[in-house]
Symmetry: C2
Subunit: 452 residues, 2 copies
């Protein structure tokens, strides 16, 4: 089979690329190969699927195969696992999992969107049943089925990044007692320590047992099933264990094809999302990004980044000329009743990037005291700045509400190199239901202006 | 009596100026004269006070006289109405309303924060009792007392700016039927017509009778009390009438003192908030602002602007060197179940300012479909851009939630001249409870990029 543009992977990057290429030139044959049964999965929503806010697995697809076929004229072959890329012959070999036969696809341009794989930390017992990772919808279905069918009582989460903490909430919502184990290093490493403390307090309030800086020794099993985790000499009962220790680029195919690889095991791409082979593009979690503040390569897999990169790859594969300009690592997460957001560099990352930094941290009400419905709650804002110039390098926010999109003001400021004085001068929106007279951002910027 | 820094007006601008001056140099004698009984009133919260979300008038003061005296060592003389400024002798004469006697105050530096006065449109009958304006807390108390004591049934609001619409909600909350009358011109003139329609629909849904483009003939009274409003030949029953037709600078004192006056009846100031007299500063609703997009003088009274300008005036009166950089006219308001926000220039204003403009308008979900708690609602985003360069000139948003602080991203972009391509590249926060994968801002920016 031949395709003008062949896409490997029908998730965020791949489908964004395919859609963009087809929109650019509807006469192109665009074909997508996907190893799994689901396409265009809203992976970031998996904690809400497991938490049962979303009941059906099917609803986790942003769009399904029929939508892409009928609305966008993009055929997708699901359950087709690519097993080899031959860049010289411009040929891809895939195994049809249902037919159990190999098929060869010729391409003019190839777009790789193979995503990432959950890290396995190498703990004894991590292959026992009831030990899970959470990366795909299939992973989510497995975890949810176990909860539905066996009503487990105790969950142990290993790792304390965004997914670990969102899953602590999901498990608690499903009635499980949660123990969160974290090897040395802080929780939510995008935050500085003075901010993570607020999250730790919330976890305690919500009844999550948090054990930080522990040595995770082994996962113990009976009859091949995990039953507890031994950690710094103590045993924690575990009807299920979630390994939430990050993800790495899925790039075995690209490596075997001889494409240039980067320091994170990522496929090297330029701003046009072109790999070391001019006919092959890559986008999404299988590539790294340039951080717009440090100008260094980082590996910050995000659905938003994957979609933006896919769009650039698709445009260029279809003959266009677009550029992906990089990231500032913006994050937001709901962790029980707290909202946590960050953008740019934290203090540690800013120092490592060679900046002479200062940081300020303030707390100020979310909105006006004359609109007590609900009453205002403090928003803690931390700003990391370059001491000499006052340029904002990063921002962090934690609060019960009003954090999710406020961080985007700082993402914009960080991206365009605004100083804290310029931020303090911003004409931000005010009305009692939405903000206090001095928005927490302005209060933080004014405090930061004093330390320049 | 002598003061190093004398401040006229103990509201946003005045108290912000006084506080800043005292912080700059605590040895300065700073004295504030206020005509009314209340200080530092959160005027923007008056609709929520009248709507009874806030019960006590006292709670409408952000800080009270005792706070300023004890915490900031700033004495305030309330019920002291300034009746004359003598710039030559550096002397102010005030009438103590309680003592009914005149007092003279000498100053080294004077800061004028006399605010604004509600416009009276000049309709026959507008002086009847039960015809109100809403500018001060005393106005609010009068309206609220009438509702508490007489349980009126019908309110007519003349004018359809933010205050008129917020008051429609407040009256409806108190059980009144509301008729909104608007003379020729659109409601919420910061919005383009395609956006105001969404607000009109909401008013209809909420049972408000909206009569636009009408000729308001007279307010009819019996025994000196308003009872109905005649408008385009029809009579609307009115147990109370609210005139919400904007505000103008309160600058009689400054004019009499010979200070230079601007085109809005405003006191002319420079970036340092200095008036035409180098020893006199002015800040807040009694001055105009420079719009950072059009670079033209505008009169956009806002609590946030008053506070920022007050801070600059206070700093400079105390010997410092600060600058007020101007506004972009950012607004946000809750109008029943809709949130409305805008920043920068709308299409009409952009054309009038000489820009070759284009506009795009899209609707996109507030957050991810995998977080249906509550389900996502569309946010309508309108962007006004300079066609040649793609520079964002203004933005407007309407939705049920997620609008209030999202507009601040556009306020930041407009202020710093970002193009819609640059906005489309922003690394904005994403997680299903907070945003869809493509934030409505990015969707609008990508749509706008196509019309450059």
């Amino acid at each position: 089979m031949n395709a003008d543009i062949l896409v490997i992977g029908a998730q965020g990057a791949g489908m964004s690329a395919a859609s963009r290429a087809k929109r650019k030139n509807k006469n192109l044959d665009v074909l997508v190969l996907e190893k799994g049964p689901y396409v265009s999965v809203g992976t970031c929503g998996l904690p809400y699927f497991i938490g049962d806010l979303v009941r059906e697995a099917k609803k986790m697809e942003m769009h399904d195969v029929a939508f892409f076929r009928e609305q966008r004229e993009i055929p997708i072959l699901t359950r087709h696992e690519v097993i080899g890329i031959d860049p010289g012959a411009k040929r891809v070999t895939a195994l049809s999992l249902d037919e159990q036969k190999e098929k060869v696809f010729r391409y003019d341009k190839l777009i790789i969107g193979t995503g990432s794989t959950a890290n396995r930390p190498g703990i004894s017992g991590e292959d026992l049943s009831r030990v899970f990772v959470l990366k795909t919808l299939e992973d989510g279905i497995r975890i949810k089925s176990l909860i539905d069918q066996e009503q487990p009582k105790n969950a142990v989460i290993i790792g304390a990044g965004v997914i670990g903490l969102e899953m602590a909430e999901a498990f608690a919502r499903r009635g499980l007692h949660v123990t969160l184990l974290k090897r040395p290093g802080s929780i939510l490493r995008m935050l500085d320590d003075d901010m993570t403390r607020l999250v730790e307090e919330e976890l305690h309030r919500q009844g999550v047992d948090v054990c930080l800086d522990v040595k995770i020794q082994k996962i113990n099993g009976i009859d091949g099933r995990a039953v507890s985790v031994t950690c710094s000499g103590q045993d924690y009962p575990a009807d299920l264990v979630l390994l939430a220790t990050g993800a790495s680029p899925s790039t075995g195919l690209a490596r075997s094809a001889g494409l240039a690889m980067g320091p994170f095991g990522d496929i090297v791409v330029d701003e046009a999302m072109t790999t070391s082979d001019p006919n092959i593009f890559a986008a999404g979690d299988c590539v790294a990004q340039i951080h717009r503040v440090s100008q260094q390569a980082v590996y910050l897999p995000r659905g938003t980044t994957a979609n933006k990169q896919g769009r650039v790859a698709g445009e260029n594969a279809a003959g266009g000329c677009d550029r992906f300009t990089g990231v500032v690592g913006t994050s937001v997460a709901k962790i029980f009743d707290l909202h946590m957001a960050s953008t740019g560099l934290n203090e540690k990352a800013a120092r490592e990037a060679g900046f002479d930094t200062a940081a300020v941290q303030i707390a100020h009400p979310s909105h006006g005291q004359t609109y007590p419905n609900p009453p205002p709650e403090p928003i803690t804002v931390r700003m990391v700045l370059e001491k000499r110039t006052g340029r904002l390098l990063g921002g962090q926010m934690i609060g019960k509400f009003g954090v999710g999109k406020r961080i985007d003001v700082l993402a914009t400021a960080v991206t365009h190199g605004l100083t804290v004085n310029q931020i303090g001068d911003l004409d931000l929106s005010y009305s009692p239901p939405f903000a206090p007279l001095w928005d927490p951002i302005l209060v933080a910027a004014n405090a930061a202006a004093k330390v320049i």
